[in-house]
């Protein structure tokens, strides 16, 4: 029963996913072998199976993850986790985040942990980096003994050429156990290789140990759906989830499954860096948005705008203004011949300035304004 409970979060996460937008479900399975040495125990070889899945819709993300570990002794351990996060719309350079997680783990019949946490974070974006401050509340339970959890985190992050760096300080209280961790994380991506490392220190601690710890890892993508993963190092005790400090070295395969093959995760640094120049805060909302579909050499544009007259001009029209036809309230449409490739377009409302409609990539047009880019297959 307890073992089933440990897997429940994953089951819930995966069961919910297909009913949502399948196109935004991504996931992977790790198969690894490890040499692990927990403090106070003999070294042991172990094999692990770790499936994970993510469902993402706009500002909301739902993750589910599990790990099944089998030691050379024949004993096994299991762990499951679901996590959800929702961002608020931005307010200038600020953005809020609400997050929650629920997890459980079990090692044979000796011990089982459960935890449920909720967090509130406030993010600040600056060119090339950002910072956030957050508080976490919840509870953790070993068997029937429950303890409250609270934590506060201050973190800063930065993107530099080829690397993402994060530094943080977290103060945690779990029942009568308190500790503060200083942590630095780094990630460097080059081609099909992602290198990451962490260095931390537990500096103030009551019943949670002290010390310095560090880990390093590498992900080498062999193809978009298959990667080699290597990791090793030493990590600190995590009283929230009942883990103890240890050292390890591991190697394995990562099979990226479900669909799509999550190429956007191939280079997380790209995604992080991508926001740097795309305005540290959100760009101003365009007074018009545009959608398009292309088929059989034509492209149908649908513009949503509050106006009495809507025109577009594009290389598709030889940069002659084309008047759109009304197609419902605040909706306008036109169909133009198109060829595959990168195209440029502007929209004009009621004879005003040429604008870049929301939905297209804005870029300086060399004439003192902006033009929208879009790609047609």
């Amino acid at each position: 029963m307890d073992r089933r409970r440990a897997w429940l979060p994953l089951a819930l996460g995966l069961a919910a996913a297909p009913g949502l937008l399948v196109s935004q479900v991504t996931g992977a399975v790790d198969l690894t072998a490890a040499d692990v040495h927990y403090d106070g125990y003999l070294p042991s070889l172990a094999a692990s199976l770790s499936p994970a899945a993510r469902w993402q819709q706009g500002l909301f993300t739902l993750d589910a993850r599990a790990t099944l570990l089998r030691f050379e002794s024949g004993n096994s351990s299991s762990q499951g986790l679901v996590a959800a996060s929702a961002f608020t719309p931005s307010l200038g350079r600020w953005r809020g985040e609400l997050a929650a997680t629920a997890g459980a783990s079990r090692y044979e019949h000796f011990a089982s942990y459960r935890d449920a946490l909720a967090a509130v974070r406030l993010h600040f974006l600056a060119p090339g980096g950002g910072a956030w401050i957050g508080v976490t509340f919840g509870g953790t339970a070993l068997g029937s003994a429950a303890r409250p959890v609270s934590a506060a985190t201050l973190a800063v992050w930065s993107v530099r050429r080829g690397a993402t760096l994060t530094a943080s300080m977290t103060a945690t209280r779990i029942g009568d156990t308190t500790y503060t961790d200083l942590s630095g994380l780094g990630e460097w991506t080059r081609g099909n290789v992602i290198l990451n490392g962490a260095l931390g220190a537990r500096v103030w601690s009551r019943f949670a140990g002290r010390g310095v710890y560090g880990e390093a890892g590498a992900v080498i993508a062999l193809r978009p759906s298959l990667a080699l993963v290597f990791a090793g190092g030493r990590y600190a005790t995590d009283p929230t989830r009942g883990s103890i400090a240890g050292r390890y070295a591991s190697a394995g395969l990562r099979i990226v499954g479900l669909r799509p093959p999550r190429p956007e995760r191939f280079d997380p640094r790209v995604l992080l860096a991508s926001h740097r120049d795309a305005a540290a805060a959100d760009p101003p909302v365009a007074p018009a948005s545009i959608e398009f579909t292309s088929a059989a050499g034509t492209c149908t544009f649908v513009v949503h705008a509050v106006a009495t007259r809507v025109e577009i001009a594009s290389d598709l029209s030889g940069w002659q203004p084309v008047l759109l036809a009304p197609a419902g309230q605040d909706t306008w449409t036109v169909t133009l011949p198109v060829t595959p490739g990168l195209h440029r377009l502007n929209v004009r409302l009621d004879g005003g300035e040429w604008l870049v409609p929301g939905g297209f990539t804005p870029v300086a047009d060399e004439f003192g304004g902006s033009v929208g880019l879009f790609v047609v297959r």
Partner: protein, 212 residues
């Protein structure tokens, strides 16, 4: 006096050449005479060197539609011609016009020409139009040019065009999601390794479950 005659002759020839080029494409009539002459000369130069002239005409017409002054239009067309030539040198003489236009856009946005050459090497027999377009689009969205090129090159060997467009949409969605999410993902999530921690995030790598 001889110099004056030579200059007059050159001007007359240039005018005839421009008039000839302009006559080939009536769309250039939308430009004022001075701009038309300068653009026509650039268009003719492009045709002679095998670079697609249509993109140059489009750029000039874009400037005209936006009522840009002549120097800006001529400068934009001149820059585009240079980008197209650079793209052709990087991609090869047999490159199609849409590929050249997408490649020129990528170069204009800062993508190194060497990246285009590598892309051609990775996909020697497949059209590059969409891959180059996505590379340019990512760069325009603020992805550092070398990162955009690296991402497209890394995926070029295995993704189809529709998958490239899906990739672009995913990146766009993540950008809209905001950097904080990416920062959280970067620090605590790797490929499929979602995790939530009370601290700033763990490495999320191939670490074994923390229990003996």
């Amino acid at each position: 006096m001889t110099a004056l005659r030579t200059a007059a002759l050159a001007a007359a020839l240039a005018g005839l050449l421009a008039a000839h080029a302009a006559a080939q494409d009536p769309r250039l009539e939308r430009l004022d005479p001075d701009t038309r002459a300068a653009v026509a000369a650039l268009v003719d130069s492009a045709r002679q060197s095998g670079v697609p002239a249509e993109a140059l005409i489009d750029r000039a017409l874009e400037g005209a539609a936006k009522q840009a002054p002549e120097p800006r239009i001529v400068a934009a067309v001149t820059t585009l011609l240079g980008n197209l030539r650079e793209a052709r040198a990087a991609l090869g003489a047999s490159t199609t016009a849409p590929e050249l236009q997408a490649g020129a856009s990528a170069i204009h946005l800062g993508v190194p020409a060497a990246a285009l050459t590598r892309l051609r090497a990775v996909r020697p027999r497949q059209p590059l139009t969409i891959a180059l377009s996505v590379m340019a689009d990512l760069t325009a969205r603020g992805v550092p040019a070398d990162s955009a090129a690296a991402a497209v090159l890394a995926l070029a060997g295995s993704l189809r065009d529709d998958q490239f467009l899906a990739f672009r949409r995913n990146v766009e969605r993540d950008i809209e999601l905001g950097a904080p999410a990416a920062a959280a993902a970067s620090s605590s999530v790797r490929l499929g390794a979602g995790a939530f921690t009370t601290d700033a995030g763990s490495s999320g790598s191939a670490r074994p479950l923390r229990r003996p």
